[in-house]
């Protein structure tokens, strides 16, 4: 697979693991999204209060992010995935190369997840669209997983989605 899992660091959030893979290899098989999300979810969930359910919930969210990168990414460069923890929150930092001009699309899509009408936009999307757009997937994370999303464009043309998932708590995995 050409992938590696290494330790990394970040302030405030405790680093759990880092995964990277050549984008060309990642894009060669759709099932990489499922396999990577399931495997990494199990790895980071073992010391949560309910490891089995935490893993299921985390995998569900992570898979959607990986599918976004699969559908929007390009073959040049690497996909990088770092996972951090602070208390009840898991932070996913997902970097992947994307076509020129796409950064603006993600900037706007991420911005919409933080607006007060995020839920209305999400309901409108699932009511009327035949298939989910990348924008509605990000809204899904905000609405159904209480995720907080932001975008880092420092490594253009790659973009980095930073997603905080407060999965361990009442209403989530409790």
């Amino acid at each position: 697979m050409g992938a590696s899992v290494n330790k990394t660091t970040e302030t405030a959030f405790e680093p759990l693991l880092q995964f990277d893979m050549e984008m060309e290899d990642f894009l060669s098989d759709w099932h990489h999204c499922d396999h990577v999300s399931s495997y990494l979810a199990r790895m980071i969930s073992h010391n949560r209060t309910d490891p089995v359910r935490h893993s299921n919930f985390f995998s569900s969210a992570l898979n959607e992010l990986l599918e976004v990168s699969f559908r929007g990414g390009t073959t040049d460069g690497k996909i990088g995935l770092s996972i951090y923890r602070q208390g009840a929150t898991e932070r996913v930092q997902l970097s992947f190369p994307c076509p020129p001009g796409q950064a603006r699309f993600y900037r706007e899509a991420v911005s919409k997840t933080r607006e007060s009408d995020a839920q209305a936009r999400y309901l409108d999307a699932i009511s009327n669209d035949l298939a989910p757009s990348r924008e509605s997937v990000l809204l899904d994370l905000a609405v159904n997983y209480d995720a907080r999303l932001r975008l880092d464009e420092d490594a253009a043309p790659a973009i980095t989605l930073i997603v905080d998932l407060p999965l361990e708590g009442e209403g989530m995995v409790s």
Binding site: W30, T49, P51, V52, N56, A61, N63, I126, A131, N144
Partner: protein
């Protein structure tokens, strides 16, 4: 049916008699085309029903947005076309994200409602989840463990293996098994959140780490196939109304070559001297009473048949008798006192006459008398059985 292109990971089914369309497993297609057959099956199910269609997603382990939106598109369109149609989506309290995703549909479409399936669907289970019963459960495990610690290795328990304790209750068996046998991994599952909270507290207080306590429905587990070398399910088949369903799940999660270990009772064989007749009468009546709550506390000797019917081979069955001579007789007496309280309440709920309840209680008191009598003997027989999942 198994969905094309995703063998063994995703199943859809339709039961026209109960008007239930079910989705189970992991559904993460790249495009709608990959699940076209299943989408078509949902359309056909909707066309075939009058009134209510239940869409059962209790065993849905994963579903991506592509699949979610494709299925709900069919559901929403059907409601817009047919004013007579009602859709009830049944999610599980175990898989939190399904409820959070599907709940929006009732906001979008009034003909759709979402019901969350949880432990209240188990008839009579609340009696066993009453926290006042915890000391009794602990005393029971204390006495049975004296026997089981020597029995378990004959049924495949050994150090370094992956173990699951399904229907773990307050988790004391998992703690004892971990201390005694040092498994590489141990998962303990129960559908009672208060019991699991108690289990986690006790484990933390005693510095026991590494037991993965998880909330789940034993008949619809999130655990993956073929994961464990040894799966225990103690005193639980007998209080579920569908033991076959539970065994099917135990079979699914144990590895080929691994073993499923079950313990069950035959309550009518509880015994004591003196006052044998009174004791015998009460336990015969207890078995009859619990059958009204869809519990078979006579299941113990049927273990061999249940294991064989579930597909296991190399079946081992043995029985042991917990008695008042196993340590302090007061421990045995305390267990019976707990049973008296709990089962008398169940008799009252069933509408038994006060005279019956008085006599019923007397049998338990006589059992305690026998247990504490200096020359008395009191026994509680248990059947331990295991079967191997064929390679």
């Amino acid at each position: 049916m198994i969905a094309a292109g995703l063998p063994q990971r995703f199943k859809v089914g339709f039961d026209p008699n109960s008007q239930i369309f079910s989705l189970a497993g992991t559904i993460r297609p790249r495009s709608i085309d990959e699940i076209a057959e299943s989408i078509h099956a949902l359309r056909e199910a909707i066309d075939a029903v009058r009134g209510v269609l239940y869409i059962d997603v209790k065993r849905l382990i994963q579903m991506n947005n592509t699949a979610f939106q494709a299925f709900i598109r069919v559901a929403l369109d059907a409601c817009r076309e047919r004013s007579d149609l009602r859709l009830v989506i049944v999610t599980s309290s175990v898989v939190s994200w399904t409820t959070r995703m599907f709940r929006h549909l009732s906001t979008i479409e009034p003909q759709i409602s979402v019901e969350v399936y949880d432990s209240m669907f188990y008839p009579g289970q609340d009696y066993f989840e009453d926290t006042s019963f915890i000391p009794i459960l602990r005393a029971q495990t204390k006495l049975t463990w004296r026997h089981e610690r020597t029995i378990l290795p004959r049924h495949g328990m050994r150090p370094g293996i992956a173990v699951a304790d399904i229907c773990c209750g307050i988790g004391d068996f998992a703690v004892l098994a971990q201390k005694e046998f040092q498994p590489a991994r141990i998962v303990a599952l129960d559908h009672s959140k208060p019991s699991l909270a108690y289990a986690r507290t006790v484990a933390a207080e005693f510095g026991v780490t590494g037991i993965e306590y998880t909330y789940g429905d034993a008949s619809e587990m999130l655990l993956e196939d073929n994961q464990f070398d040894f799966v225990a399910c103690r005193h639980s088949l007998q209080i579920f109304n569908q033991p076959e369903l539970l065994l099917k799940e135990l079979y699914r999660i144990v590895k080929p070559g691994g073993r499923v270990y079950i313990t069950n009772e035959k309550n009518s064989h509880c015994l004591g001297e003196p006052r044998a007749q009174s004791i015998q009468w009460t336990y015969n009546e207890l078995a009859r009473l619990l059958s009204h709550f869809e519990m078979d506390v006579e299941l113990g000797p049927k273990s061999r048949r249940y294991l064989a019917d579930a597909g296991f081979d190399d079946i081992l069955v043995e029985s042991f008798m917990v008695t008042n001579l196993d340590g302090d007789p007061q421990d045995f007496a305390d267990i019976i006192a707990g049973w008296e309280k709990m089962f008398a309440a169940m008799a009252a709920r069933h509408g038994e006459a006060p005279e019956f309840i008085d006599r019923f209680r007397q049998g338990f008191r006589d059992h305690i008398f026998a247990a504490l009598h200096p020359k008395g003997y009191a026994g509680w027989p248990i059947w331990a059985a295991s079967g191997r999942k064929p390679l």
